[in-house]
Symmetry: C2
Subunit: 335 residues, 2 copies
Amino acid sequence: MLLLLEDIKVKRKPIYHIRIKATILTENMTRIVIAIGGNAILNPVKGNPEEAKQKIDETCREIAGIIDKGYDVVLTHGNGPQIGNILAMQEECGLVHPQPLDVCGAQTQGMLGYSLQQSLDNRLKRRRMDRKVITVLTQVVVDDSGSSFENPTKPIGLYYQEYRAQEMIALGTRMVKDKNGYRRVVPSPEPVQIVEDEAIKKLVSEGFTVIAAGGGGIPVIRKNGLLTGVEAVIDKDLTGSLLAASVGAELFLILTDVDKVSLNYGEDNQLELDEMTVLEAGRYIKEGHFGKGSMEPKVRSGINFVNSGGRYAIISSLEKALPALEGTAGTRIIR
Amino acid sequence: MLLLLEDIKVKRKPIYHIRIKATILTENMTRIVIAIGGNAILNPVKGNPEEAKQKIDETCREIAGIIDKGYDVVLTHGNGPQIGNILAMQEECGLVHPQPLDVCGAQTQGMLGYSLQQSLDNRLKRRRMDRKVITVLTQVVVDDSGSSFENPTKPIGLYYQEYRAQEMIALGTRMVKDKNGYRRVVPSPEPVQIVEDEAIKKLVSEGFTVIAAGGGGIPVIRKNGLLTGVEAVIDKDLTGSLLAASVGAELFLILTDVDKVSLNYGEDNQLELDEMTVLEAGRYIKEGHFGKGSMEPKVRSGINFVNSGGRYAIISSLEKALPALEGTAGTRIIR
């Protein structure tokens, strides 16, 4: 970090002095995994690519600010709208053979990893920080022992009208109906292992800012030691907590579209929380305070991270990310 | 490498002995960059995904054999058919906003990197080799000073009929006509720098097998130190030679669909070459012996690698890859 230059009285061998100082500082940096959602990326397929680029740049400006405060960041991100659009093109276009979900997920890791990496790299350069950003393609081993594969619950891709949905169901596609129509549902199994964890850890230790496990990771299972992709999607926050534990992060920061976690959300007696213990958080989940596909997995990810040895997890918004790290915003999940 | 077990008399501290031996061996391993083309991957979008998976597995079986012989491999690959299909879906489907070429390239790095990485990893495991395969998303800075951006020459994507092509040309798309119809042409500038070279080198030094710079890399330019993607594609073999030089590889192996480079290719006096010096190779290019978009850039990539300090480059087929490394097949380009 070039800021160091100001702090050091450079005499005869400036490069030597700076290197030593930089090394010591890197070791003292707080390692943190940050998970950002679709709101922080916008929809770079459906939206105007220029608008998407600008939104990504705003996100990366905040992330660069966090890195500049001395945090060693591993960044992970969602891919909902992007994988949805790839599926829509495959299903509706009929021009090419549809790819399975694991391959589509890998495509979004490439697309979003690149966009985030380039933008973050540029934001760091503007701050005169000599940090390189690297995207590591990440497979995540999922648990295929439970019921998630028998009873898929995660809706993805386009909405279909009744007649079309019935055709797809007849061909074996699992679908669910909500107020907007029918959607395909796929398994959303629990993540159990980050396949590339060693490489990610190595790169972080060497001072790289790493983007990993995008879209919750590419879902794979391991049989007789060999990996195979599966038709599933993984919750990005659950994978984020596993990633945070795997790379030995002290903190896990989940950025979403609200500043704090609330009890009785949207009701008259809504209560914003500054802090909750893992026990309290578990009780709130049981009491049904959090949306199933939205806040609940975030709180559960925070609990998982703390239970696996992490210091604490924070849930907040992109805008409040820095104050949340400083303890003046967001909701902390503690032991 | 577990093969070592047979060579070592294990007594009281077997793990200690093996570790030392393995470390020494790793340092003595020959670092090599291997470039594989579309034929080694098949078309995983248009083709049946199962067939594509099998073809990729056959390729990775050979690559694993090379690693098992003691080579430290960095693998790079083409993406012609895959990026073509993404463009076709975007152009013909009309469902989503078309992405620029750099983002499409990033998508193919994700898709193909994942497929190759998983398959290679499994092939190494079957050989009981404890080597991890990592895909690093790779941007490549291109030369935007020359004429490549003013006079784009590289045809990509779908063929269009005359009436449609005329509409596209009227909207500003550059197109060329060949015997199959009209195709879009884009710039194919020279690669000048691998943005992620440090991370790739670090991972290779740590014993990872790295997949990098897929599809010739994501094309970017650097202005005032900041990176921006550009609408271009980069020749994967030219990028391969730059990658090989950047990671300090001793050898650069280009795998294609012929076993050797030939003079007077396809004619009565066709002459297969075992070896050529960079001077001879340069002369053959001038004499027009090699196809412009096919063998010529491969020979030129070999020359570039040797001229930038590499020991030698080899051009051969996947089937002859190992004999080519042992000096009994393929065409060598030497100093």
